[in-house]
């Protein structure tokens, strides 16, 4: 059973269906955030519906772009034989 699910997910033919499922779950999570109680909110952003979605997306983009910038421009990434001369 596990094998079949994994093969289904990996098959490029099903990527359209999976994409649709992915978008559906994004919408569901985003909408659900408008309908929950926020009794425990401490900070202002905790009270904004959809904050998690926004912050998650921004964090992800920021992490990728800043890291790659530091890696390429900041000289962190080097050839694999950097230490073997």
């Amino acid at each position: 059973m596990i094998r079949r699910i994994v093969l289904y997910v990996g098959d490029p033919a099903n990527s359209k269906t999976l994409k649709k499922l992915g978008y559906l779950s994004l919408v569901l999570v985003f909408v659900a955030d408008f309908f929950v109680h926020r009794d425990h909110a401490i900070y202002i952003w905790d009270k904004i519906p959809g904050w998690g979605a926004f912050y998650g997306f921004v964090s992800c983009a920021l992490i990728i772009l800043v890291s790659k910038f530091l890696g390429h421009q900041g000289g962190i990434m080097q050839d694999e034989d950097y230490y073997n001369d």
Partner: protein, 590 residues
């Protein structure tokens, strides 16, 4: 003696039996010892046991309270999972090293004084380095030497701090230190931060863990840093510096994980990121955040072990560790993929997985302690965690472009070990109650509130959206990343250059001066001594004495005529002289 037994003794003395066993007997033996240790912890009640006086100092081997017992639980359970994963390994040295390593870790956990703690601390370093050496390739040997040197340096810092602390307080007990800013305080802190892999003292971890054996690195991922977290919770709660070190650490690991191409090195950077949460929790120092640190360490050991087991299985079955060379193995390793993903969901803190109920305690701890920036940055790091461990690594390792590798599922024992860890990752997430009951402080925390679940899912799923939108940017590149190990990897060359050029050069010059000036002077002076003093002085004196005796003997020879009457006359004269002397003396005394 009977009401408490030290679990470390099982491992340390148990290790001695391993070389004499083989086959099924050894496999059974390897599993029984950790199970006995789990039973030890199960039967433990808080108290102080096994104290002894050594050189006038009281040593405590069994300081058991809720904090040490919860770490005792996780260390013993993980040792069982780790050893099941390694059952197929024939190299007995690795099993011995793993047992000693676990024994050291548990020894630190129950040490009641700094001296005992230090001894077990060093045992960990020396036992674990064998798990790197045992891979027996040049890269591993090199990394192993760097690993042990860094740990020795950290150990010396720790020992120096302990000595200073003892000299100023006359106390050696392990407990919260006075935050007096003394040198001893900072030396102990730095010694522990080395093992907790807090930047800039962290590079040994990402250097050595990916070079260890497939099974050895599973042990390493679990014990060294988490033992250090235990000591931080015990000794440094509420140290403000740690809040920021931990927060930076959580993001630091994430940034490097973006750039990393080696699968296990990527996971190693996420150890640093995750331990960052624990360090920050210690720094915040409230009951909630300390509980968060402890519970996160507990959950972390299982999911990180699981991730290392999954990546290790792929490395073992394909012989490759670089993401640029992997891809498409989902077809032949579906079970490994699913088990790995459970670890990936747990570390990413998906609801119903272990990370969700533990990591959020630290973040809430920061929020409740009025540290909004810390809470925001730690949340950002958790987006990065899912990005790499849950998306990037599995995508490029199992899916992505097909590398055409013909891999199989790993041996059954490895799958069973991964299954056990996966079971715990889900079990803790679904039913956090038993773990919460073990924590050092009473728990009044409910992770499954509506807004927490939806906002966590929002963060994670929209991170996923960002991942697929920026996928092209994330394609792994065949590079390595420069980290603080540069200081001693390239810096050692500066040292060698210094040794070669200025130091050795000066040595040559000094040698020349010595040869030309000092040697010549010494030689001519000794020649003077030889010619004048020795020849004329000493030899002359000896010769003179000899010549005197020769002459004396020649003169005496004339008296020895051989005629009896001469001898008799001489004796007679002698006798008269002696008699005369006594007579004269007698007369004078009258």
């Amino acid at each position: 003696m009977t009401d408490w037994f030290h679990p470390s003794l099982l491992f340390i003395f148990g290790a001695a039996g391993i070389p004499f066993l083989s086959g099924k007997v050894r496999q059974g033996y390897l599993m029984v010892i950790p199970l006995l240790a789990v039973a030890c912890v199960y039967s433990m009640t808080p108290g102080t046991y096994w104290t002894t006086t050594f050189l006038g100092t009281e040593l405590t081997f069994g300081a058991a309270d809720k904090l040490s017992i919860v770490f005792g639980w996780v260390f013993t359970i993980m040792s069982f999972i780790g050893i099941v994963y390694a059952l197929h390994v024939e190299d007995r040295g690795q099993h011995v090293a793993a047992f000693l390593y676990v024994g050291g870790s548990i020894g630190v956990t129950f040490a009641g004084d700094f001296f005992t703690l230090f001894i077990f601390w060093e045992l960990m370093a020396f036992a674990s380095v064998y798990l790197v050496f045992a891979r027996r390739v040049k890269a591993s040997i090199d990394a192993g030497y760097r690993y042990i040197l860094v740990h020795l340096f950290g150990g010396v810092c720790l020992l120096g701090g302990i000595v200073l602390h003892y000299m100023s307080t006359k106390s050696i007990g392990v407990g919260p230190l006075d935050q007096d800013g003394s040198l001893g305080f900072y030396l102990i802190l730095v010694g522990v931060l080395f093992n907790a892999a807090v930047p800039p003292f962290h590079a040994w971890l990402t250097d050595a863990y990916p070079e260890g054996t497939v099974t050895g690195s599973v042990f390493m991922s679990a014990f060294t840093t988490k033992t250090a977290v235990y000591v931080l919770v015990r000794v440094f709660p509420g140290t403000e510096l740690l809040v920021w070190m931990g927060t930076i650490m959580a993001l630091y690991g994430v940034v490097y994980a973006v750039l990393e191409n080696d699968s296990r090195r990527l996971l190693a950077y996420h150890i640093i990121s995750q331990v960052g949460y624990m360090v920050a929790g210690v720094g915040i120092g409230t009951d909630l955040s300390l509980n968060g640190s402890v519970s996160h360490a507990f959950a972390h050991i299982f999911y990180k072990g699981l991730l290392f087991m999954g990546a290790g299985a792929v490395i073992m079955m394909t012989g490759r560790s670089k993401l640029t060379e992997l891809g498409g193995v989902y077809r032949t390793m579906p079970l490994t993929l699913v088990l790995y993903m459970i670890g990936g969901f747990a570390i990413s803190a998906f609801p119903l997985f272990s990370g969700f109920v533990t990591k959020s305690m630290v973040v809430s701890g920061a929020a409740h302690d009025h540290r909004p920036l810390v809470a925001l940055l730690l949340t950002m790091a958790s987006a990065g965690t899912f990005l790499h461990t849950g998306l990037k690594l599995p995508y490029y390792m199992f899916f992505g472009k097909d590398s055409g590798l013909e891999a199989k599922e790993p041996p059954t024992n490895m799958l069973i070990a991964m299954g056990m860890a996966a079971f715990l990752c889900i079990g803790i997430g679904v039913l956090p109650g038993p773990l919460y009951a073990l924590l050092p402080f009473p728990v009044d925390y409910h992770p499954y509130t509506g807004d927490h679940v939806t906002s966590a899912l929002g963060i994670l799923l929209f991170t996923g959206l960002g991942f697929f939108m920026l996928l092209k940017k994330l394609d792994p590149e065949p590079t390595i990343s420069i980290d603080t190990d540069w200081v001693y990897r390239k810096g050692s060359r500066v040292f060698m250059w210094l040794a070669k050029v200025p130091v050795a050069g000066t040595d040559t010059v000094v040698g020349d001066i010595y040869k030309t000036i000092i040697c010549r002077f010494t030689l001519s002076f000794s020649q003077f001594l030889a010619r004048v003093f020795d020849l004329r002085g000493i030899d002359g004196m000896v010769n003179g004495v000899a010549a005197f005796f020769i002459e004396l003997a020649g003169n005496l020879r004339g008296t020895a005529s051989g005629l009896v009457r001469n001898y008799a006359a001489t004796m007679l004269v002698g006798g008269v002289v002696i008699l005369g002397y006594y007579l004269f003396a007698h007369l004078m005394s009258l």
